[in-house]
Amino acid sequence: MSQTLRISTAGVRGIVGPGLEGKHALEFAAAFSVFLPQEGPVLLARDPRASSDMLREGVIASLLASGRDAVDLGLVSTPVLQHAIRERAAAGGISIGASHNAAPWNALKFFGSNGTYLNSGEAAEFLDIYHLRRFRFVGWEEVGKLSFATDAVEHYLAALEAVFDIGKLRGVRLVADCSSGLSSILLNRLREKHGLNLTLLNASLENKHFSHEPNTTARNVNLMLGPVVEALGADLGVLFDMDSDRIAVCGRDGKAVSEELVLPLLADYQLARLPGRLVITNLSTTALLEDIAAQYGGEVVRVPVGRQHAMDALAIYAADRIAIAGEGTGAVMLPEFRFVYDGMASLLALMSLMVERGKTLGELVAAWPAYDMRKHEVPLDAKRIPLLMMRLEERYHDFARDTRDGLRVTLPYGWFHVRVSNTEPVVRIIVETRGNGAEELARELLSEVAAYA
């Protein structure tokens, strides 16, 4: 069965048409209105996909019918929306857009009054309202009103300027690939305001045909961004996904730095300023984080993969104990931005690191111990997963195991993690070793998994 619709604590995501329909926008927005504990408007952002216009209409209709005012921020990225929710003391926000997915996809993401993703408890309650269809549509006199706000980007930029000394970053020759998405709006303004030395690629918003899949993968970095960086002799290349919540990067050589290294780079920047604090990440990210944390007397807290687990962990620890949170996908949250996955803040932090240390990206990365990582995915047969996990546990029972999210095994020379994806019907296998050897371990695991898939 091809699964083209996914409803989870992360929201709803699917291929528009055969999976995600207009009715999902209407029903989720109606449920969200009931779920939100406080009065007040709901803010909306969307990406440039054609289907985002369709979903937006449905979301607005249900918000108004539920007695909520809606404030449309227009074509702005998710971090801009999250910032606006807090600044305008809104009841919540809905982001319409499928960030790193290809053009046929779309998604709705939901944010509470603090501008963050819902934690597990909140998301469960929200989904209960959706599934039980506990919608509450008001009488004609109480129907909400739609208004528009055009200043969200400027307010967001002001927040970035309060944290980063952007004028100091002019010396970095930067090339940015915007993936036909929303980062171009922010980057153009930053260049205007601060004179950044910036070349933009794929900077026009596209609704149907993206320049490339808007995913922050090494493949996409090497496709266009890398060669341009090399040809221009730039210092840094950055690739944004469609809604600019995550990044991938390359240095002068134009070769993609593993997306796994974005979080360690920024952890280095943050821990140097905030030593002894925690790094929150998931079970699938590089062990390099432990090395870096140790250097600054910090500690790594690992949680199951998925945004809601990171949100739950953030809810447990006081904000002033945390240096950084993020995943190996290039999605990173900084406490200065109240834990919002924010590609633009990530970029500015990385540039600040390069300027402050006076080092190139290549030099920063080269200073670290070398790890070898492999990621694979195998199509899922859900019924056979438990058998597979039992078999793997049996086989590696001599080693330290973590079973909170599939199986993560720590080996003397590295680790591996086998788990079921939250967003796609696949089993993911992640293997990392110090030095070489990842290839061999990955092959071994793949043959085990293939027997059960």
Binding site: G22, A50, M54, G58, A61, S62, G139
Partner: protein
């Protein structure tokens, strides 16, 4: 009687917004509509109800999801929307308006590619699609997007009307006109039309589309007290009352006396026939006064079942020049568009006054007098046939017309009985040459029906 808070049927979808008419229903219905008209360009307009924007967003969602391009006209009268559809070659259109229903209601009016109301077959096919949830689900690359056009619709509408009246002659008279726009979709357009286009001296009330309806939405003598007082106070030549979506027209004279809607239709017919030859089609409940007017020009009157779509279908089949529904204040003029249009009505009547130099009262007095009575009574489902049969037996001398309910036609009078499409009530209309005869027949019929 049960309250009908939601009705999904051959007339589309209508209901009390909130608990009954939800955005989910509106979006589904629009998606069924978009699927039915084949993913083309669909025009959407609305009246001034508070719930209009909400329903419009739901409708846009459903239409976009069906792969339609959406052209949003904003707040526009229903005839203006219909004309726009025909003029721009759209695949169809939706009017978000509950017409004369109270403000807690809203509804979708369905128009085909000619800008005409869906006929019976179109409506039932659409309804089947809706009930089967058999909607087209467009993929991202098939989603067309929305366009807005709020300025050109009224221009297109007025351009259709002007060739059929003598504008300079009307302007030269500088008529003093009173207007009650019920803060409806036509409010602003009416002010512009009467002053800028027809050069009238306008005394207008309730022409702010941002405010709620100030009175019961149906334009009838009981609800137009403010208009008649205004017309009298300002010594106007004529007063016009509109409904929220600008299709119906009620008229009063300078003394503040309301004209019967049947007489208004008769005057419009006279105005049209005086300029160009043509036949007439009206519904069964419309007064015989239209027959008398048509006879002055040796033209025929055709009768149709009640309902705009039925009258329009009849007009088209007999190629009638003008028609309408007397009782509801609907004037339909082929030269403009096959739709009820208060603007065409205003223009024709002012043109007639300008052409003849007569006051409205003089024109009305030139029409033969008929006495009219109407009422309604509830009935128990299943007993309707028995009631009709009893009426037939009671009046063996009458000729019978069963086109729509039962019409009993006498030498000097008629009785028309028909069940409402929307509620279990029986509507009774009586007309006679003499007041006493109308009174007798009406009292007699009602007594029989209630027994």
């Amino acid at each position: 009687m049960r309250e009908h808070l939601l009705k999904i049927g051959v007339s589309g979808i209508r209901g009390v917004v909130g608990e009954f008419l939800t955005p989910l229903l509106a979006a589904d219905f629009a998606q069924a509509f978009g699927t039915y008209v084949g993913h083309g360009r669909v025009v959407v307009g609305r009246d001034t109800r508070f719930t209009g924007p909400m329903i419009e967003h739901a409708v846009a969602c459903g239409l976009l999801a069906a792969g339609c391009e959406v052209v949003r006209l904003g707040v526009q009268p229903t005839p203006t929307i219909q004309i726009y559809i025909a003029e721009t070659g759209a695949a169809g259109g939706l009017g978000i308006t509950a017409s004369h229903n109270p403000p807690e209601y809203n509804a979708l009016k369905l128009f085909n590619h000619e800008g005409l109301f869906f006929n019976h077959y179109e409506r039932s096919e659409l309804l089947d699609l809706f009930h089967q949830s058999d909607f087209y689900q467009a993929r991202n690359e098939e989603i067309a997007g929305c366009r807005e056009d709020e300025a050109s619709p009224r221009e297109r509408h007025v351009r259709k009307i002007l060739p059929h009246v003598d504008v300079e002659r009307i302007r030269a008279r500088r008529f003093r006109v009173a207007l009650d726009g019920v803060n409806g979709a036509g409010s602003r357009m009416s002010v512009w039309f009467l002053t800028e286009i027809l050069g009238c001296e306008l005394h207008a009330i309730h022409v702010d589309p941002t405010l709620p309806f100030p009175r019961e939405a149906e334009p009838k003598p009981e609800t137009l007290g403010e208009l008649t007082a205004l017309a009298k106070r300002e010594n106007c030549d004529i007063g016009f009352g509109q409904d929220p979506d600008g299709d119906r027209l009620a008229v009063c004279d300078g003394a503040g006396e309301m004209l019967d809607n049947d007489d208004v239709l008769a005057l419009a017919i006279e105005a049209a026939l005086a300029r160009a030859p043509g036949d007439v089609a009206v519904n069964l409940t419309t007064s015989n006064v239209v027959e008398d007017v048509a006879a002055r020009y040796n033209r025929r009157v055709y009768r149709a079942a009640v309902g705009e779509a039925n009258v329009v279908e009849r007009m088209r089949s007999v190629q009638a020049l003008i028609g309408g529904e007397g009782s509801s204040g609907g004037i339909i003029f082929r030269g403009v568009h096959h739709c009820r249009d208060s603007y065409t009505g205003m223009a024709l009547i002012l043109d007639r006054m300008a052409a003849t130099g007569k006051t409205l009262r003089e024109l009305a007095e030139g029409l033969p007098h008929y006495a009219r009575r109407s009422g309604k009574t509830s009935f128990v489902h299943g007993r309707l046939g028995g009631l009709m049969l009893a009426m037939e037996k009671r009046y063996p001398e009458a000729k019978l017309d069963r086109t729509d309910g039962l019409k009993l036609i006498f030498e000097d009078a008629w009785i028309h009985l028909r069940a409402s499409n929307t509620e279990p009530i029986l509507r009774v209309a009586v007309e006679a040459r003499e007041d006493a005869r109308a009174e007798d027949l009406f009292g007699d019929a009602m007594a029989l029906l209630k027994s």
